[in-house]
Symmetry: C2
Subunit: 442 residues, 2 copies
């Protein structure tokens, strides 16, 4: 059996820098504090996202990263306009909502239509063809709070395809209950998509308290009328891009270790937890590994662009770099709360390394798992190359309180938990980048 090639002396140094990161890492906070303050919201394909790339390149260069590069690509860009909703009758009052990405626009003076409520995606599916003609569909599917984020897989389809399904049954617009676990008046945006042959309709998410209120109205009346104004626009093709940078290894001929996050954010918040924190964590970890001594393999960080609107950056990177083998990929895109579990996809082929990683992070409160790491969104290249993958699973209990809302701001990051992330990443990336043998043998 293979044994990890990291020497006892190297391991000691890595342990020490990881321990130090836990106590006093300042890189990650500096990054996310700076990005959210000096750039703030940075929606894909917009000038704000370009400012974020410029900011990130400057930061990476100042920290001493090598080969800091921007790799542009083109994408289709949708931007928010006016968004207003008002119950016209029988209980006139405004409701708070935000348009979903790819929503169609109403006329400037809006539309008024009767609301038909569905308490689940399944109930909408069961609605007869044509039954929503002229109506606004309201899909009020509750999301469950979970540590591993599995509630998103359960409730997510309401946002991803609910409006398209409503449109296919004749609805003139769709409003969904926010896919989120909080009860604040801060609705959750995110992309939606319409099936081929179905014309997009105006689609928006109500905050949970507003969805509760609309549901109570529908319990009292079967003739609730809603006035809706949504004026988003499609800008056509605009420029986005990835930012990459490296800690060059002692043997650059070996396939590198790829660390990914996404630099774009939705427009409502300042993108602190989604995904400023992820970029902060990976960049901080790369620096701490370098502080322990030049790693054997190159560590490449990928700040992907335009993840939120269709993983444009991850796909562009995979295409542009298809011929360059990657040893192993890791992504951070689930907030800034502590890492509770480590998974790999090479326990079968490289049990020794799998076990060494688990053992190395145990002191940070991270448990091992026999579950196979699944690809992060921006690791398209790892999927294409069927290469190594490590998942450092973060606690997602509170993530969907904030995800894609105006509330995704710096104050939501706990510096102590952020440093735990950096420490775990430092340890794991340190071991992987100093591993001489294949990470995931074929």
């Amino acid at each position: 059996a293979q044994t990890p090639s990291v020497s006892a002396a190297e391991q000691d140094k890595l342990d020490a820098v990881a321990d130090q990161a836990l106590q006093s890492d300042a890189y990650a906070w500096d990054f996310v504090e700076g990005l959210t303050t000096e750039v703030g919201p940075r929606q894909s394909g917009t000038a704000a996202e370009q400012r974020a790339r410029d900011w990130a390149k400057k930061w990476l260069t100042a920290q001493g990263f090598a080969n800091v590069r921007e790799e542009p690509f083109m994408m289709k860009t949708w931007v928010r306009g006016v968004e207003k909703a008002e119950v016209v009758s029988p209980f006139p009052q405004p409701l708070t909502l935000v348009a979903l990405g790819n929503s169609a626009a109403t006329p400037a003076d809006g539309i008024t239509a009767q609301v038909v409520g569905f308490d689940s995606y399944a109930a909408l599916e069961a609605a007869p063809a044509g039954s929503l003609k002229g109506k606004i569909a309201f899909i009020s599917h509750h999301m469950k709070r979970t540590q591993d984020g599995s509630g998103y897989g359960f409730a997510g389809p309401v946002r991803w395809t609910g409006p398209g399904l409503a449109a296919s049954k004749g609805a003139v617009a769709a409003v969904i209950r926010s896919v989120g676990t909080d009860n604040h008046r801060t609705p959750h945006t995110g992309g939606t998509s319409f099936p081929d042959g179905v014309a997009p309709i105006p689609a928006a998410a109500l905050s949970n308290p507003d969805a509760d209120n609309l549901a109570r109205m529908l319990e009292r009346s079967d003739d609730v009328k809603l006035h809706l104004v949504l004026t988003p626009r499609n800008l056509g093709e605009t420029k986005s891009g990835n930012v990459t940078a490296e800690i060059v290894g002692r043997d650059p001929s070996l396939p590198p270790v790829l660390l990914a996050c996404h630099l774009d954010s939705w427009d409502l918040g300042t993108g602190a937890i989604d995904d400023g924190a992820g970029c902060a964590i990976i960049a901080a970890a790369a620096q701490h590994v370098a502080e322990a001594g030049q790693p054997l393999r190159t560590i490449r960080v990928l700040f992907a662009g335009a993840e939120e609107t269709g993983v444009w950056g991850g796909k562009a990177y995979a295409k542009a770099h298809a011929k360059e083998p990657i040893a192993v990929g890791l992504e951070s895109d689930f907030g800034a709360d502590r890492i509770w579990q480590i998974r790999t996809n090479f326990a079968a082929g490289n049990e020794a390394l799998h076990k060494a990683l688990i053992q190395a992070v145990e002191r940070f409160g991270v448990e091992g798992s026999t579950a196979i790491a699944d690809n992060g969104e921006d690791l398209t290249i790892i999927h294409d190359q069927k290469t190594g993958h490590v998942d450092l699973a973060q606690d997602g209990t509170h993530y969907f309180d904030l995800h894609h809302t105006p509330d995704d701001t710096l104050d939501k990051i706990d510096p102590v938990q952020l440093r735990q992330n950096v420490a775990v990443w430092t340890q794991v990336v340190g071991l992987l980048s100093n591993e001489a043998g294949p990470i995931k043998p074929d």
Copy 2:
């Protein structure tokens, strides 16, 4: 010494209905659920406040209250318009804010000016005369979380008079850190006022995360420029009104017990905790007392109008009813969390009743106090008549997370704590309304 006149049998009945209210009161929830769903926001002087009065009269009548009346009065009404803020340089990004009541308007296309930051009211006071000419003042005074709400007295002046003070030193606009203890992107509105001879300027509150962000920008740059659009309007004199109703006592010649709340709310939320809950609690308690048997004194509920914008309703009531003596007044206007303390203003003159009240509510976890009850906002008449007052102090630990924000919605009310309020009110109002002797002897 006086002794309370309530018989043991009456006390037993009151104890029983209060215990029952703790377990299963449904009136209070029915009221606040209905009001927030069927009316929602109900700003003073607007058509929405009239809908609230109509709704309340219907509800009170349906519950069997006697003498359900509306007492109109005229008031000056200010309404919100467009509100937008954007940092122009050096870190372009939008900020979330809401106009404060009585704010002046900017031109429709806004104003752009340099921001001058003050980290306290005292720092603004220390700014030299004329030093803010052409600038936007930013007052970033943190509010402390307290159980008794004393943090509001400390931070409140920033909102009440901060913009006026900035205007007097030449500022073209003022933005304040929200007077609130949360960290959500839901700013806290509320009224502000300008001194005589000082022309109103545009005045708004940033959410706490936005105030944090602006403060971080000011740490980095002494030339932060903000673009501000606020287009509120003064509507002139419009109609508001109070709603009153009674449980008629066995001896209507005795001065009544007056229970007050306010029916208007700020426009951003649905006014669940401020002050739908207060009206719900007092109306529910009055009904439970009646269930124990017709009280000796009349219990009058006053749903005051237009409290938020200057206690118009409380003052109108005091003026219209100046000649009618009130025995004792109580107000509920501090949310829906549990009552933790009881205070009266008659411990000196009527110690027996003071002690009987304390003893009666001890089983609900309420403690007595030697502090003298201070008047509730809508109890102007109690102040004028120097008559009896009882304060049932609620736990305000979380109140200023929600106060005057879009987040003041039904889901924030804990039904268990709401019922504890109703139980304590039932007990106290039951004893007061069955007391034959003077409550607060001269």
